[in-house]
Amino acid sequence: MEPQPNSAQSTESSSSLKVALAWLYVGVPLLWGVSQTFIKALALFK
């Protein structure tokens, strides 16, 4: 049995999951805002 590597792996994956969730939390509203602005900007080229 090798508990140490498994535990380290688990910490690593939970850390990566946390990072992904944190980026989603800020990324989704940011992308929504950018897309709304981009749609508005298209009016200049019509």
Partner: protein, 471 residues
């Protein structure tokens, strides 16, 4: 001995294995929220017609455009002042407590402002959104900066660019969000503004909690894996530290203050007048009947400028890690001078596409000027109190935020009084902005490494350093 609270700096020191890529989203959670300030104009018409509900036919007691305009101006002035005043406190207590204070003030500003709208009290709105909210803006703006620089010593420009990009992005979220909320509450007697303020206060208070509870500071002596500070010594990048109280005694600090002030004022030259400017310069008279820029297209132009402002914050700041801070500001100013000087000609020749490209480039460098500043300060003064020093430099933004629009409006109105039209009505605005950029260029050119006498030596205590006379 009392146990340290969850908010104290000592409780947020990251343990081994902490992933530093959690810090940029924590910073973004704050900056995306407080960036709302730049979308405040969506409330202008609703606030000017609280009693009449018709902005074209206001009631005698309805607030005027000038009165409503002061709400944003007060908030920006308080942003700079509070960043300057609370910077040293932030360095002492750490980013978590500062972020929580920012969230409470920013949301509190909305709540107080909402009551001000409800009872139709302009002073209460000034105090709420302007003063209390403005303090939240200032503390929030600087709260993640020094932490980011300490976590990313290998690419400070990228790190601060990401966070400060959020401030630009915040307006893009807040504008459609506020319009949606006001539409939802439109049956209320106050055009839905009070309820929208409450909703925004709650949303932002909750949203900012990610930053508050995720932020960590690196342990003393921590370095990213594999990072070795550059061996070839660059005199413009210090390894020492200058305290904020000493930094303001250096010529470098005031040169950077001028650099920021000129860059912001020049950007405001475009931002402040973007919509009427493009409609006036490229009217039906210039482009031909039915081919002039409409109000909707002008709105698109403003949107495009916002996008370039956002992208510039990340792009230029990241590029400064490679090119160097002083050189990148020389590019902002040098290129800016050329572009501003070209705008009247492009307008006269009806070169719409080139005019738009030039304005977008100018706005990208306006954004870049904001986001590159913390890394420039860190290079010159060290990382120890860079947040506090940055806070003091931000008073340049407050100054530019008030003086810029005054200058632009004065020059434009003066031209109109002389019966000038189209591009000619904006010629003096553009040339004046180019002149301001010349001042910024010279100030940047004069920046040299900070004199050794200002640096903290480990054997000197803070009290001794602060008591040292100015030279």
């Amino acid at each position: 001995m009392a146990e340290a609270s969850l908010l104290d700096r000592s409780r947020i020191v990251a343990g081994p294995g902490f992933n530093r890529w959690l810090i940029p989203p924590a910073a973004l959670a704050i900056h995306l929220a407080i960036g709302q300030a730049y979308a405040f104009s969506v409330f202008k018409n609703p606030l000017m017609s609280l009693l009449s509900h018709d902005v074209d036919h206001p009631a005698p007691d309805d607030w005027t455009a000038g009165q409503v305009g002061w709400i944003f101006s007060i908030a920006i002035v308080l942003l700079g002042l509070s960043a300057a005043v609370f910077g040293t406190w932030l360095e002492r207590v750490g980013p978590r407590k500062a972020m929580l204070a920012s969230a409470l003030c920013f949301a509190g500003g909305f709540f107080i402002g909402s009551y001000g709208v409800h009872i139709h009290s302009l002073p209460l709105l000034y105090f709420g959104y302007g003063v209390v909210g403005g303090i939240g803006l200032g503390i929030g703006y600087i709260s993640p900066v020094s932490t980011l620089i300490k976590w990313f010593p290998d690419r400070p420009g990228v790190a601060t660019g990401m966070a400060i990009m959020g401030f630009g992005g915040g307006a893009m979220i807040a504008s459609p969000l506020s319009l949606t909320l006001m539409n939802q509450f439109k049956n209320a007697s106050d055009n839905g503004v009070a309820a929208t303020f409450i909703a925004l206060g709650v949303i932002y208070l909750l949203f900012m909690q990610l930053g508050v509870w995720t932020i960590r500071v690196p342990a003393e002596g921590w370095r990213p894996a594999g990072y070795v500070p550059a061996a070839n010594h660059n005199e413009m990048i210090t390894t020492g530290n200058v305290l904020a109280s000493q930094a303001i005694k250096t010529p470098q600090f005031w040169l950077l203050w001028v650099v920021l002030c000129m860059n912001v004022t020049a950007g405001i030259g475009i931002l402040e007048t973007a919509s009427p400017m493009i409609q006036e310069i490229f009217s039906d008279k210039v482009l031909g009947a039915g081919r002039g820029i409409t109000a909707a297209a002008a709105g698109g132009f403003v949107g495009l400028l916002s996008l370039f402002n956002l992208l510039g914050r990340f792009f230029w700041s990241s590029a400064s890690d490679k090119i160097g801070r002083k050189r990148i500001y020389l590019i902002y100013f040098g290129l800016g001078i050329v572009l501003y000087a070209l705008l009247p000609t492009l307008g006269r020749n009806a070169s719409l596409a080139l005019f738009v490209v030039a304005c977008c480039l100018i706005l990208s460098m306006y954004g870049g000027g904001f986001s590159t500043m913390p890394a420039f300060l860190s290079d010159l003064f060290g990382k120890k109190e860079v947040g506090a020093i940055h806070g003091r430099v931000l008073t340049a933004w407050s100054t530019a935020g008030v003086l810029g629009p005054l200058l632009v409006n004065y020059l434009h109105e003066n031209a109109k009084a002389k019966q000038l039209e189209g591009a000619a009505a904006f010629q003096n605005v553009f040339y004046t902005m180019a002149g301001l950029l010349v001042v910024g260029f010279i100030a940047d050119l004069l920046i040299r490494a900070v004199n050794d006498k200002y640096f903290v030596h480990e054997t000197v205590t803070r009290a001794q350093a602060e008591a040292a006379p100015a030279h």
